[in-house]
């Protein structure tokens, strides 16, 4: 029986090993607390229309995030700019709750002139950081809601010969703000050789343009061999070539999720057919790491930029408003702190004056 179990049973017996303090039990406590609290994760999906983003999200999390979806016609698409649509869903599995927010970006890359289709997306990411910064600097920090984007799946079309100019520009614009995970969509359109060629091409172009995609952390040396092997395989498969589907097809006697063609069945969860399982494994095993990198790297970058700018009168008018609001709030904070200090001083004086009257 482990120490934790013994403690649970209320047996505060002496530990067997002398010199054992017991804080090895801390991870379990953290684990229990987090399970109770639940996890929050925000995932952004970006890519042209028709690349199977919604289908993939539904397949990954086995839900239907877009029940009443209407695909707009070309005429509507011409007038529309990029929208941001965030849908939140609470998923529970074996007692562990996950509050998943999926941020969709319909309209990206649809217009004939896609010159400013990413300004909306970048403002959204910055807004979330701003809000978090504001909450963090606020008075009541107990219930900070973390809506920062932890990961961005960027969907690359399998039809081209590599990255398109739009892909390169977009990824360069956000690689310092969010973890970018490139994904090759609709991979059932490629033969194995074409897939390998495309992956190599994309990796070369990413290097060439200096795009910083999310890199899986190397396995620690004390992890077991299986995990190390798994991490190695995952790292070698980036970008993942995926196929999404929630339809159950009957294949070889068993029911699998897949796509039924006249020439065969593409199984979503078959590692020989596509990298869906690898993508899911990566997301789940490294969800914590994605959040950490967002907090430690991207958010800190944003914060230092922001505070540097907040010091002097900002050059951009919209930033100035936010600066002013921040400064006002800080001034208010100081005022309130002064007031509190004054009240405390008063009470102390009163208390001294009255001797041992009831203290406030």
């Amino acid at each position: 029986m482990s120490q934790a179990d013994k403690m649970k049973q209320g047996q505060f017996t002496n530990p067997e090993t002398p010199g054992y303090v017991g804080f090895a039990n801390l991870p379990n406590q953290v684990h229990r607390k987090s399970v109770k609290k639940g996890f929050e994760f925000t995932l952004m999906v970006v890519g042209e229309s028709g690349l199977g983003k919604s289908t993939l999200i539904n397949s990954l999390f086995l839900t239907d995030l877009y029940p009443e979806r209407v695909i707009p016609g070309a005429a509507e698409k011409i007038e529309r700019t990029v929208q941001i649509e965030a849908s939140t869903v609470e998923i529970e599995e074996r007692g562990v709750k996950l509050r998943l927010t999926v941020v969709d970006t319909p309209g990206y890359g649809d217009a004939i002139n896609s010159q400013d289709c990413f300004s909306t997306i970048i403002s959204y990411i910055d807004d979330q950081f701003e809000r978090y910064l504001h909450d963090e600097s606020g008075l009541n920090r107990r219930h900070i809601v973390d809506n920062r984007v932890h990961c961005c799946f960027y969907f690359i079309s399998p039809l081209g010969h590599g990255l398109k100019p739009l892909d390169v520009q977009f990824m360069k614009a956000i690689h310092n703000k969010v973890n970018v995970v490139p994904v090759i969509a609709k991979a059932d359109t490629l033969t194995l050789r074409e897939r390998e060629r495309l992956k190599r091409r994309i990796l070369d172009e990413i290097d060439e343009h200096g795009i910083k995609i999310y890199h899986l952390p190397d396995a620690e040396s004390d992890e077991d061999e299986d995990f190390k092997e798994q991490t190695r395989i995952l790292k070698a498969s980036i970008p993942f070539a995926v196929v999404g589907s929630n339809q159950q097809i009957e294949a070889k006697g068993k029911k699998v999720r897949g796509r039924l063609y006249p020439w065969g069945v593409v199984e979503v969860e078959n590692p020989e057919h596509n990298d869906f399982l690898k993508l899911r494994t990566m997301l789940i095993t490294h969800m914590q790491d994605l959040q950490e990198v967002t907090q430690d790297l991207h958010y800190e970058n944003f914060r230092s930029e922001r505070l540097k700018r907040g010091g002097r009168k900002g050059p951009e008018p919209e930033e100035m408003d936010k600066d002013m609001i921040l400064q006002e709030k800080e001034a208010e904070l100081r005022r309130m702190q002064e007031m509190i200090a004054k009240m405390q001083a008063q009470m102390q004086k009163q208390g001294d004056g009255e001797g041992d009257g009831p203290h406030v």
Partner: protein, 399 residues
């Protein structure tokens, strides 16, 4: 813009000369190729049948001036064999000697399989990729037009096939007016032809570089037409015959394909886009029925490849994946066969006719009205005719 007009030969080693046939040419440049009677395959077949059975041919009445009274003489009224039907054989021989010209343009984003499809259609390496040495797949910064010409021969019938490719279309971040180089090119070909036609001494056979057919490749998103598709087809549908196809269709299941096609047809109708075969140019009910069937099936969902694999003992063209082999020529898998039949086996002559009689005429009327000149004026003012001989057209630097 780059120029790469390579004249390569197919099986036959010689190149067809202009006027080499030495046959009679009609004044309005309707060569032997474009007689209307050879249009539909059913008609062709019946005529062939009828050719073999002597004395049973029906005389076809030509449409004439309304007031003129024409009496129909059936061959049961003839008291002997005249030999009128032998004109068909003469036509055929002339046509074979003269050969055909066909100019096809492929438009679509990079990576949609345009070059592969053209190679598959004509079962030979006719696309720009196969002909340029050291070909590298890089997205070009502007829309360039790239034309490659080949002479293909099959069973003694020669065809001069020109494939015009449009790399760079729709690939940039800002694709505004990316169709302009294409419309300019098409109009230039009409202009070239018009100039040749208006010469005082014109050639026996005007080289026909007009675009007879434009295949527009739609990406298999499964949703609807995109704004760029609508803009392009709207602008070009009035000057050239557009045949839209769904590229790389092995990414759509059968239901998705049907839904996608239905939505595209709705989008085309709601935007007033007329693709080939246009309803307005159907001549008779037979043709109408045939074309209706085609119209109900466009855009064709195609898959192209030049690799062969072994399926059930046969060598078929296909794409091999871990979950099966997509057979290109299997109608249950994709509609490549329908596209090929439409373009080559049944409607090739019709495409040329529509280009000549409809699109070219529209352009001609527009031009002549614009310049408000008569034929001879146009001829004299634009060409320095020294001694009455025609000057060569010097406008082939547009590619």
């Amino acid at each position: 813009m780059e120029e790469s007009d390579t004249n390569k030969t197919g099986v036959v080693g010689t190149e067809r000369e202009d006027g080499g046939t030495g046959g009679e040419q009609t004044a309005n440049m309707n060569t032997a190729n474009s007689l209307k009677e050879d249009k539909t395959p059913s008609e062709k077949e019946t005529r062939r049948e009828q050719e073999t059975e002597e004395g049973q041919t029906q005389v076809e009445v030509c449409r004439s001036v309304p007031d003129l009274q024409l009496s129909i003489i059936r061959d049961s009224d003839l008291f002997g064999y005249v030999g009128i039907e032998a004109v068909l054989e003469q036509m055929k021989l002339k046509t074979i000697k003269a050969g055909f010209e066909f100019n096809i343009m492929v438009v679509g984003q990079s990576g949609l399989g345009k070059s592969t499809l053209v190679n598959t259609l004509f079962k030979s390496k006719v696309s720009r990729k196969s002909c340029t040495a050291n070909y590298e797949e890089k997205i070009s910064k502007t829309v360039k037009l790239h034309s490659v010409t080949h002479l293909i021969e099959e069973k003694g019938v020669k065809m001069k096939l020109t494939v015009i490719d449009t790399p760079g279309f729709g690939d940039q971040i800002n694709n505004k007016n990316c169709w302009e180089p294409i419309t300019t090119y098409i109009n230039e070909q009409y202009e070239k032809y018009l100039r040749e036609e208006l010469h005082v001494n014109r050639k026996k056979r005007i080289p026909d570089t007009r675009v007879h057919c434009c295949i527009y490749f739609l990406p298999p998103t499964g949703h609807r037409l995109r704004p760029i598709d609508v803009e392009f087809m709207r602008r070009l549908g009035t000057i050239v015959s557009i045949v839209p196809v769904i590229a790389k269709a092995d990414t759509l299941t059968i239901e998705e394909r049907l839904e996608f096609k239905e939505r595209i047809r709705q989008d085309l109708a709601s935007n007033g886009i007329h693709v080939y075969p246009q309803k307005e140019y159907d001549e008779d009910p037979e043709e109408f029925i045939l074309n209706e069937r085609i119209r109900g099936n466009i855009p064709f969902a195609v898959v192209g490849t030049d690799k062969e694999h072994n399926v059930n003992g046969n060598n078929v063209l296909g794409r091999k994946t871990k979950w099966g082999i997509v057979e290109v020529e299997n109608v249950a898998h994709c509609e490549f066969v329908n596209l090929r039949d439409l373009l080559i086996r049944s409607h090739l002559q019709d495409l040329k006719d529509v280009t000549n009689n409809v699109h070219y005429e529209t352009y001609r009327v527009q031009r002549l009205n614009e310049s408000n000149m008569t034929f001879s004026e146009l001829g004299f003012s634009t060409w320095p005719l020294e001694n009455g001989t025609g000057a060569r057209c010097d406008s082939d630097s547009h590619l």
